[in-house]
Subunit: 317 residues, 4 copies
């Protein structure tokens, strides 16, 4: 493909790739509908060694957030009861010794899913709802709670950085549909209907190695081209994920829209998206045994009206 | 067994069931060590129909918390950006239309794992650490992050309420080891090493049907007897879970300790415990197809130093 | 006056009492403009005995909030560092021994000011701004920060409960303009331009005596009649405050609007309003010495874009 | 004075300056006891022009915190209801149009008081309490709530930067007792019993002018010498405040203690301390009219068990 990315291209893609009504007017899960029970059974068959890879990053004050839009912050973990209290006898009245705690976090601040109500286009959400249904009380449609039992299936890693023979892709480098296909072919894996596709750019590993997140959250990044929306629709993937903050390449391929790929894949297609995935160990294992498919279990928390969910997805080989 | 529950019994059980050093002095995951890679492979083989059951309860203001110890509260979900903002043109400067949000919650406020640093005995944690390592900065040992890739394996439901022929057990009714065995036998399932055992009392279903949580969080409840600690150790289960707030029967079986079973299973044994599991749909399905085992995936969030994690465990049949 | 309260009456009052433009098109503080420097000087002269009354209620989990609109909650106070940590040696590395903490609260959850951007009428705020300027990022106009140095002046207590000879007024009992005047007269005090008027109904004292807040936050209450908006405008008061959740009588005097008095006094008049004031001790002192005027200092926190501020106003006699 | 600051000097000062028992064994407010009712009356007489100076800094994400001790953060302000919701008709069901919000902040994150339970010495708080009384539930003694009506009196500004003829003092520059006295003399003001003394170093103004806080919160700073504890005790001041993060000079005058002056003034003396005061406008006015005394009203929020309180103190001339 050779798309000039602009508002017209977005509009065209939105029209062409629209999944509105495809799974009924009440559908709340979009492309997760691609996954059938049989797909789950088949995916479980991919568990051959019992190796488990946790794809989340730690939730703590060392996270990537640097105040994006003046708002996002790293998780704040606070105690309600401590061992030091216990030792000092402050819990004796209760005949117990325990620790307790709270967590405050941005739902999309670390490894997470985007819910389908996270992005709108022309005041409309996926499946044609008015964006006003998403107000200060939360997402009254398309919240992440709808996907509570839908995030299990076949996972496929496309290790683009390794395919290119680099430690990590540079910010601003983009991935074409052809390259995704070529990478899959080189890896000996086929991407298709109902897959949870995970793309490795290496960007997170660079940040961790350099011990600074820099512009990771919201700045420039390697990622897929706008044309990727066509690829996802054609392949009928269940979800697309990456080790970056926003899957698509940054700087944006146009000045007319911020994150143009998002404008299409969420509101038009209802595509589930996973971000800030920690894939280093998984990728190393795949490179070693040449097996790039696995059972994927990425259940979200059931956050009523959530724009997404913090997660710790499991890749099980 | 016929144990008189008191401080002496707790001390005796703590001594007899201690797993300190069993998996090395640096071990942070206790009974999760029972699970081998082969167990994960075998467990995946239990996926036969592709049916998925989400065992979490929703994270919202309708949760069970009523201020336990004057501290615990239900999840607070707040928006950082909304569809109404987008419609009003307040996001135009950013060339995007989106919603964003935060969540503040008690880590153990809804469906959750207890980390091994959650409870101490005589100022010591599991594996002999000084409880002072658990201070206002969090759990500097035994935090839930250590279990990030360890919560996958064979799940077994023991549906005690159904075994008793009741809709739900009453508060204060206790479950003996013999009854667990008898229930397993009646269900045609065998509990053993590395299993994630889930006990259904029906208490949560009563609360949901009556539309009031009442004393669910911290009050009286049906649950296992103190003697259950011996059962868990003998069976070598990976974890034990229930549809109640604290697994064990309440009121406590003694006035000398609050939650005496907790005093033993966490600090002495290093047993992982899951609470507030939502098992209604799973139990109905098991009753129907008579299959009480399944693939269990209950990955915690990687909360650095967390006393546990909110979760939405998946039972996949 | 004898007003039939309905949408027409609201519209009429909004038109008649509008202060839009009165203090310039850029004005952000409305009736606080009534207070001149000389008023502050004069008010300071009212300090004769040096007695100080703190009019705030404690910020803790025993507050009045019960989840109004499913959202408001009582303050959540959490520690970041404790004495028990210090004793256990956990702060030794830092060569200090200290405690530190956080507070999360609803800005209007306890004793507080309403900012002028708190309520709108027909999509417009005070002084004619579009309500869209108040979005998820906060109040981009009319936030409480504008009043940072404006909350000092003459305070006047109108002790209606005592004037009526009752311990407290009952929920639903309303206060007419005539009664305010009669009460002032009986107290030997004159209400006028630039005053911070505080009305005592006794409702809070009933709640405290009965040790339950019940419907205090958002339920029925004694309070001023709708006609009070005319009284405030005529008297040119700087602010009006009460010991109730919302100053005006509840149930509402009409079914056509929720809190009809609010619809007028904030958006049309730009009247500052103080709520949940704790006036018991002050009222007792005033009854004793017959002096119902005092120096009032109720500085808000400078919450950028806040709909108000938690406060602990000082009445100094 | 010429003190070699070390642990011995701290111990000596703690012994010599101890106010334990001075105001009774149940005293919770320390040096605030210096303020009599007559002092409040006299202070009110200082109001001559009606000019008001708000000494707080804004509570928002632009605050000085940069994660001190990996914990402190700037205020997080979030909406619960917005004008954009109102315009979109999302509040119509409730027959109202309004905005509502929450605030989460570090109690000591911006302009604030330290409560007497904020710092301990040798496991003891002011007046001899065991520091264990300050646990995860808060300050069970010496919380800021005890000062709810005690923060009113005579304020005195000591403008050291101006006295030195500099725009601002440099980090690490220290202020001796002699200099405080000389400055007061030059300003024509006398510091004495019951005063709320505010010291201007200009550091905050440098940060604001340079538009970066840098090490303001917890790094190097100009400030008083350790010997200042003797000065405060001799003068019998009610409180001491400054435009810096911690009043005393940094780097610390010793490597044996972090903030050695704090070790003495809070636990031994029970001295109230105000930090991060915004004094630019006040100082300019004082320089102009040569009047360095004023009525001071700095009421804390009544945070039950708080280590302090965010404030917006008022200096009224």
């Amino acid at each position: 493909m050779n798309i000039v990315v602009n508002k017209q291209a977005i509009e065209e893609a939105s029209r062409e790739l629209s999944n509105w009504g495809r799974w009924g007017k009440d559908d709340q899960i979009g492309t997760l509908n691609h996954v059938t029970s049989q797909d789950v059974v088949n995916a479980a068959r991919l568990v051959r060694t019992g190796k488990v890879f946790a794809l989340g990053i730690p939730l703590d004050s060392n996270g990537p957030q640097t105040g994006l839009f003046g708002r996002r912050f790293n998780p704040i973990h606070q105690m309600l009861a401590t061992g030091t209290d216990a030792i000092a006898g402050r819990q004796d009245w209760n005949k117990t010794q325990y620790a307790d705690d709270t967590l405050m976090l941005c739902v999309q601040g670390a490894t997470h899913w985007d819910a389908l109500g996270h992005v709108f286009y022309q005041d409309k959400t996926y499946n044609g709802h008015d964006a006003k249904l998403i107000d200060s009380t939360g997402l009254n449609v398309l919240g992440i709670e709808n996907a509570r039992d839908k995030m299990n299936g076949r996972g496929v890693l496309l290790d683009i950085a390794r395919f290119r023979g680099v430690k990590w892709m540079k910010d601003g480098e983009s991935i074409s549909n052809d390259e995704l296909d070529a990478c899959a072919k080189a890896q000996g894996v086929k991407v298709g209907r109902a897959d949870f596709v995970i793309i490795r750019t290496g960007q997170m590993e660079r940040c961790l190695e350099e011990d600074k997140w820099g512009g990771y959250a919201g700045g420039d990044a390697p990622g897929v081209k706008f044309e990727n929306c066509y690829w996802c629709q054609e392949k009928q993937v269940a979800a697309i994920c990456s080790d970056t903050w926003g899957v698509e390449v940054r700087p944006n391929e146009t000045t007319e829209a911020n994150q143009p790929w998002h404008w299409v894949v969420i509101p038009a297609m209802g595509l589930t998206m996973g971000e800030i995935f920690n894939v280093k160990a998984l990728a190393e294992d795949c490179a070693k045994d040449k097996v790039y498919e696995f059972f994927f279990c990425g259940a979200p928390l059931i956050i009523t009206g959530g724009t997404g969910s913090p997660i710790n997805p499991q890749a099980i080989k």
